[in-house]
């Protein structure tokens, strides 16, 4: 069976103007997302990983048009989102929901849980008014909360429970795609596991598609089918999770993976420690954006931007944006720390 494309992002750019100088003119732009393309198929989980400022959250917000994209096209279930009017977009948001990172800030403290869920259903007209109470109870039970909690206020819940409320709200309108923007990052490990398990169960039960945005690679490996690695507004590598985690090709993906501490004190630790900080997205480096920190960088990396490409040593669907994937793979190019690094 051919996989059905649910979301297709092409050439997406999101620039934020910097105002300054006389008359508040735009003096420059923060190039938060700079020409990225990817596809999400129905029923799968795709994760975007990267460090702060790489553009992963901006991508999620641009898809929902919470921020108007500067350029590019976003096709969702056959509709071109970027040209829709506000009203048409609002209608479509029924199918496209988002769960935010901070369960304290993303829920109105003055609404009871029942009101919160009711409001979402009223706006999207998903359930007739007389059946709504029943549906609210059903939703709460789906996310592991109880009927008696329906008329409580958010402050009466713990962080993990609030995140469950956020999930119930997203589910209330029967969406197709849920964007989880660092949805479990604020939770403690034991609670995080509960919420991750819940998200997985819901996916099976309701045939949901997730775009999962996270900086935590342990979480990403656990939940994803495919992974996108971003650096400074660009996709540097994309592939199924085994390719990304077991066989990363881009030097940045390698460094990122090897930098994560492994919870096993007996493992030999060989980290690739990158020098320096991420450059500013206002004036990103020319050529490959990673060249300022890449130990393999050659002259060409400073001038020519590498394209995403499936090199010989990679399987179908696994692409990396690096000029020297093969040279690094067969050892023609070497850098200290890379050859014995553990992922």
């Amino acid at each position: 069976m051919a996989k059905k494309e649910l979301l297709k992002v092409e050439g997406l750019k999101q620039y934020f103007p910097i105002k300054g100088g006389m008359m508040g003119r735009t003096v420059n732009h923060v190039k938060a997302v700079d020409d990225i393309s990817f596809t999400i198929y129905e029923g799968e989980t795709v994760s975007i990983v990267g460090e702060s400022g790489c553009g992963k959250s901006t991508t999620g917000r641009a898809i929902l048009r919470l921020e108007e994209p500067t350029e590019g096209s976003i096709t969702f279930d056959g509709h071109e989102l970027t040209t829709l009017s506000k009203r048409e977009m609002r209608k479509l948001r029924k199918d496209l929901q988002i769960i935010f990172q901070d369960p304290y800030a993303s829920i109105n403290p003055r609404q009871t849980v029942a009101n919160l869920l009711n409001e979402a259903m009223t706006i999207q007209k998903v359930v007739p008014a007389k059946d709504r109470r029943k549906r609210i109870i059903e939703l709460l039970e789906t996310v592991g909360l109880n009927e008696y909690q329906a008329d409580r206020y958010p402050h009466e819940f713990s962080g993990g429970q609030r995140q469950r409320i956020g999930i119930a709200r997203a589910l209330s309108v029967k969406p197709k795609l849920i964007i989880c923007d660092e949805a479990v990052s604020a939770l403690d490990v034991s609670i995080q596991a509960q919420v991750l398990n819940l998200l997985k169960e819901l996916q099976e039960d309701f045939n949901l598609t997730y775009l999962f945005i996270s900086h935590d690679l342990g979480v990403v490996r656990h939940i994803s089918d495919r992974v996108i690695v971003m650096y400074l507004g660009k996709i540097v590598e994309i592939g199924d999770k085994y390719s990304i985690f077991e066989n990363p090709k881009h030097p940045y993906s390698k460094a990122l993976l090897s930098a994560i501490p492994i919870p096993d004190p007996t493992r030999v630790k060989k980290h690739i420690v990158l020098t320096g900080d991420v450059p500013s997205p206002i004036d990103p480096p020319a050529g490959c954006r990673f060249h300022t920190r890449c130990p393999f960088a050659q002259d060409i990396c400073k001038v020519e931007e590498p394209k995403l490409f499936t090199h010989d040593s990679m399987i179908d669907g696994h692409q990396a944006a690096c000029h020297f994937v093969e040279e690094i793979e067969n050892g023609d190019l070497q850098a200290k720390g890379f050859e014995e690094a553990v992922f």
């Binding site: 460090e51 609670i191 596991a193 919870p263 096993d264 004190p265 553990v342």
Partner: protein
Amino acid sequence: METVLLEVRDLRTSFFTDDGEVKAVDGVSFALPLGKTLGIVGESGSGKSITALSILKLIADNGKIIGGEIHYKGNDLLTYSDKQMRDIRGNAISMIFQEPMTSLNPVFTVGQQISESIMKHQNLSKKAALVKSVELLKLVGIPSPDKRIKQYPYELSGGMRQRVMIAMALACNPEILIADEPTTALDVTIQAQILRLIRELQMRLGMSVIMITHDLGVVAETCDYVAVMYAGQVVEYSDVVTLFQKPKHPYTIGLMNSLPRHDVEVEKLESIKGNVPNPKEMPTGCRFAPRCPAATDLCRREMPALMKDVEGNDVRCWIYSEKWEGESEVIVYGEKRIAESRGTETILSD
């Protein structure tokens, strides 16, 4: 036998609020051997930061250390006067915090802030202190330190700020460095830089480190000994290899099993059910009993003490005591543990 530099015994710190007493730390014991790194690991609200602040006696006005002992080089810090403590803080024992932006003063330059403690503790002139500050910045790997010294915290990146914090903490050659979640606010590639820096400095300067973190990966990579905290208490204390290979306390086992890993494939995460108890309404028995899959009536009735096992590690759980009344083979979160009474002795009584 290793020399113990700092030993905490049955520490208790409470906060007195309008709603009553909150026992933030209620039974914390561990030892920090000379030159080693001790990890204190636990989830939010487990009392790990309050433990660290209690060691330096930096507790807010409504809080009080109500019991226990903190032995540093044979003396109990809890008997020290305020003046004696001032000589300890930032001198013999220093601390770095999670958020380098809020713990640096935004209106003073980096140089002014580092030289302040040098002038205070080492009686150096302003000029000499600034020279020493430049050396310290160089030590923590900040490029062109003579320029950085004149900059304000907002001009530095998160990783750089944390390096400045470390430089300040090292200013007086402390014997103990307490690092409270030093890399939590940083990205992983920057975290790797900072952890490596702390390890290098520790080896070079012979410091002992207390690393407070919620990240089991950081514990495994940096610590020699680990104290696991839950709801204000140490529930397990052992060397790092034993802790990861054979965790004993059901909470520790649960924590390990609920951790998603980037290096191995886990089909389903084994999560700990329920939530941490409200500190104002702690359970009467074992504090983990309401969430523990092995809990018996005994666990719900009586709080277990921190007990020493034959290997010399500490665990606060009835399963490993003579009083255990459940099955002799206990399954917790899919892992089998043999309930045994051999050689356990109570090291402190509650």
